[in-house]
């Protein structure tokens, strides 16, 4: 009888563990290759070094985006606020621009400042176009310039068609789950962070 209970308990724990890991469907090691990026302060930073040791929430944006990327950024901001209320302050937030042509470091900094983003937990990164595109491929994120507009002063502006994405990365630099950045269920992300961090 005792043996049977032990078997049932073991099976229960196994099934519980399995169901939890199914909630985080990905396990992609992002540490196999490093990428030199530039942050909002024009400092060269290494990815994944900037995220290792902390759970990270990574959003993919471009700052000239009027509708979707601000929603993605704001959803990350709301996630940070909710985590802080719960006493969780060691989660890192990274916003990667897939528009390095226009998103220079000072542009990223201004974009963040106008949204009251706290650089203690946030890093906004840009970089060489080839490096950015290589990194985007690691995340299966697509971004391509679409409609162009010419202003009177000769400046060209363009929109971008892109993957709507926020990604959750664990402390070891493994991609664990992707979400729709603009339409994410913030509570789901917070639960996943709590599960990962065993908070």
């Amino acid at each position: 009888m005792k043996k049977r209970i032990e078997i049932l308990l073991t099976a229960g724990i196994f099934l519980f563990t399995l169901s939890c890991s199914q909630d985080l469907p990905l396990d992609k090691d992002l540490t196999k290759k490093s990428y030199k990026l530039i942050n909002q302060d024009s400092m060269v930073v290494d990815f994944p070094e900037i995220i290792l040791g902390n759970i990270s929430v990574m959003g993919f944006i471009y700052t000239h985006c009027p509708d979707i990327c601000p929603m993605t950024t704001h959803n990350m901001y709301l996630t940070e606020m909710s985590l802080k209320k719960a006493g969780i302050e060691d989660v890192k937030f990274v916003a990667l621009s897939f528009d390095p042509e226009r998103d220079k470091p000072h542009v990223l900094k201004k974009f963040a400042e106008i949204r009251d983003i706290d650089f203690k937990n946030w890093t906004l990164v840009t970089g060489e176009q080839s490096v950015i595109y290589d990194l985007l491929r690691r995340f299966d994120v697509r971004a391509v310039a679409t409609d162009s507009v010419f202003y009177d002063d000769g400046e060209v502006s363009y929109s971008m068609m892109h993957t709507d994405r926020i990604s959750l990365i664990d402390k070891e630099g493994r991609l664990r789950k992707n979400y729709m950045g603009s339409r994410i269920n913030i509570e789901e992300l917070i639960q996943d962070i709590k599960y990962l961090g065993e908070y």
Partner: protein, 134 residues
Amino acid sequence: MITLIIILNLFFPIDDNIKIVDPWMRPNAKGMASALYFTIENTTETTDTLYKVESEIAERIEIHETYSSGDVIGMREVGMIVVEASSSFELKPGAHHIMLMKLKQDLKEGNNGDFILHFKNAGEIKITAVVKLK
């Protein structure tokens, strides 16, 4: 006389024409883009069309919609928004919006911006939108 007007208005309400409800826009820095959102309430018996938006706030203003294909999102100009009679149309995040391109000033939370909306039937409607961080 006032009593007569009130009574007449009770039985024959004045046509409210087009109402613009809760106009707001997103924050962003000078030179970048933002979006303006609001709800158009058409209480008339005829369809109306928003076809142009003007403001000193941005270098260029267009009527846009956001569309998606799987998890990929894009944006395109639509030129106009048709609001059927006795109905409303909501411009909202992830859908139709007024795109403000190359902002002439920083838009920070709480700032205001004036706009003129051009409708085919209702003509010009002036609104003031507030910047909201959401």
